[in-house]
């Protein structure tokens, strides 16, 4: 009897818990036409308290333009956002309009939880930059799943004071990996091994820049274990063996090279166009010593966008709100408030105010970042999730530390990452 009850209980559990979200097809065509009115929710990511006034102004503008609408604004903290969105999706509580970077949007689009805006919006291509729209197109999933909001890229930042101190010219920063290694050697020698110029191990972006095909064309297999990738890793391994990189880069126990840079442990960092303004808050003295320069290779493209929940009870209003927040005027206004981020609208592409510098380091960085956007690309495949990224980093660290050969580490990383991809 007891066994029967246990079996029954287990079956009930299985039925109750094992099914999860089935990602059922909610039908083919979605009608987003209709009157823009009623309640709608907007979720942003870590905009409070810094940008509270801006968002409130946006919402007021929307409610004035569409009388009868009421926007409920939710802002989630920076940490744990993916878990928050995941819980919302799993519990059918996704807000009507939600700020999602492409890597968050992919799994939700895959489960048909997001609106295909390419299908429902005829003016999408006309109003937004094609590269930004493409960031929300995913392999194996038809359509585009977000209105591009703002763009960013990376530029290089050098600590001019440390460079001068250790025999380098901050006006002639490295422009290639080879140059970086050469100048790092000078810094090591002059500082008696106490200061580093190089500040990170190779990343997905570095492999892409080295011409390595990261994923197979069908998107089902990682193919980065090539000779070109091994050669790149060998370069980093030799640099590490020569003492040109700090140990921190191997453990991932730090927040990235920007953190090492802020602590003056390294003299080089990469960062967005607004990096100097961020440093001003933490370390105003250091901010004055920072000199920006263009990324060493093809700059990475970072996109933020607003996706619309396919299950929204008020699709016409949700689409209108996403459109409103991402329109040219509102984006330009936001970019003006946050120097270093840029609009994703075609109307702002030629806006000269972004390509002008006031002569300060922060102004130069903003100008450089804007110019870099023209050639920026998505360098990291959108299918790379946390687990894949961790496995990749584990093997890269092993190769850089010299404990295994670069090819061996890449083979293992590709094999394990492919397993996780097809899990």
């Amino acid at each position: 009897m007891r066994a029967k009850i246990a079996t029954l209980a287990a079956l009930v559990m299985l039925a109750a818990t094992g099914c999860g979200l089935s990602g059922e097809d909610s039908g083919g065509d979605v009608d987003v036409s209709g009157e823009v009115t009623g309640k709608v929710s907007l979720q942003t990511w870590a905009l409070k308290p810094k940008h509270t006034k801006y968002v409130e102004k946006l919402i007021d503008g929307f409610e004035d333009k569409y009388p009868g609408t009421k926007v409920k604004w939710l802002d989630q903290p920076g940490d744990g956002y993916s878990e928050k969105v995941l819980n919302q999706a799993a519990n059918d509580e996704l807000p009507d309009v939600v700020n999602l970077p492409p890597e968050f949007a992919l799994p939700l689009a895959d489960k048909e939880l997001l609106l295909d805006v390419a299908d429902t919006d005829d003016k999408l291509k006309k109003d937004y930059l094609s590269g930004a729209i493409d960031a929300y197109r995913f392999p194996g999933v038809k359509g585009a799943y977000g209105y591009p909001w703002y763009l960013n890229t990376d530029v290089n930042y050098w600590n001019a004071d440390l460079m001068k101190k250790y025999g380098l010219d901050p006006d002639k920063p490295p422009t290639s990996f080879e140059d970086l290694v050469a100048q790092a050697k000078t810094m090591k020698k002059k500082s008696d091994g106490k200061m580093f110029l190089m500040s990170r191990k190779p990343s997905w972006e570095d492999l892409t820049n080295a011409g390595v095909e990261i994923l197979s064309s069908d998107g089902e297999k990682f193919t980065f274990n090539t000779d070109a990738a091994a050669e790149l890793l060998d370069g980093y391994r030799d640099a590490y063996a020569d003492g040109l990189l700090p140990d921190d880069v191997l453990t991932d126990a730090y927040l990235g090279n920007s953190e090492l840079f802020k602590q003056k442990k390294v003299a080089w960092s990469t960062g967005g166009g607004n990096f100097i303004n961020d440093v001003k808050v933490d370390n105003p003295k250091l901010a004055k010593d920072i000199v920006p320069s263009k990324a060493l290779d093809t700059p990475p493209l970072y996109v933020q966008g607003l996706s619309v929940s396919k299950k929204s009870d008020n699709l016409p209003t949700a689409v209108a709100l996403a459109r409103w927040v991402t329109n040219a005027d509102n984006q330009a206004d936001f970019a003006e408030r946050v120097p270093g981020i840029f609009p994703s609208t075609t109307a702002s592409a030629d806006d000269e105010s972004f390509s002008e510098s006031d002569g300060s380091g922060a102004g130069d960085a903003k100008k450089l970042a804007f110019e870099s956007l023209a050639e920026a690309e998505l360098l990291k495949p959108v299918v790379v999730d946390d687990a894949i990224n961790d496995v990749f980093n584990q093997q890269i660290s092993l190769a850089v530390s010299g404990e295994t050969s670069s090819k061996q580490a890449l083979d293992k990383a590709a094999e394990e990452c492919t397993k996780l991809l097809n899990d």
Partner: protein, 292 residues
Amino acid sequence: MRRQRWFTPWLLIAPAVVWLLVFNLWPSINTVVLAFTDAKPLGGGQFTGLANAERMLDDEQLSYALINCIVYLLVCLPLLTLLPLLIAVLAEKNLPGITFFRTAFYTPVIASAVVVALIWNWLLDDRGAINGIAQQLSLLQKPLPFLTDRWLLLLSAISLTVWKGLGYYMIIYLSALGNVRRELHEAAAIDGAGAVRRFVSVTIPGVRNTMLLVTVLITVSAMRIFSELYVLAGPTGGPGGRDMSMVMLIQLYSRGFTGNLGYASALSVLLFLITIGPMLLLLRFNRRTAES
């Protein structure tokens, strides 16, 4: 005297029982169920039989994690069973300045993980205090890779655990030492027993049950170690992920939109089976002690 109604005790324990059912028993049973599926945060959940168990046999990361936890256990167990007892014996005495030492030993227990990470990284970094001093004194030619070498990193994390654990277990022993009758010590002293002999023959038997409890606590903690390795080795468990612990591995597989909840649950069940052993042993021992 009024007779109490039959349901009164049930009513009193109902909140705790409901709490346990909702937040403890239900998730536990759910984890066991999920261990036999391919569940994902957004779907999946098909029954896959023993596929997850088979996968464990081929999982190199799991073997690293198990070895790390066993090494952790073998090193931490003797250190954290005996050292806090010795410190507790010392802290019990009313020596001049003992309050400072009691506070100093307990401070690491309440220190936040972030502060601990900063302190230990500052100590063990290739440009940290330990390497710096050793190189200044010409004891080392080049820095020791405390945070990147597999075994040194594990040893560093163990040191951190011992440092944090001393004060915690010291408090447990202090309460046990209060129950060791002073007359026994006096009688042994009159019989000519020295301090060491009294410690071995009076103190240790007096706190034997507490030592056993501490042993079990350390065993379970060693198998579930997370924060110390996480702050020193980072989320990836150091180069090659060779300093992962079981809990870090579970976290790796269960994170994000595409987390493999089925496999992570199977790992959780394995961890539960490993840690339940010492608990059962303690239960059995306590029962025997009560019977005798």
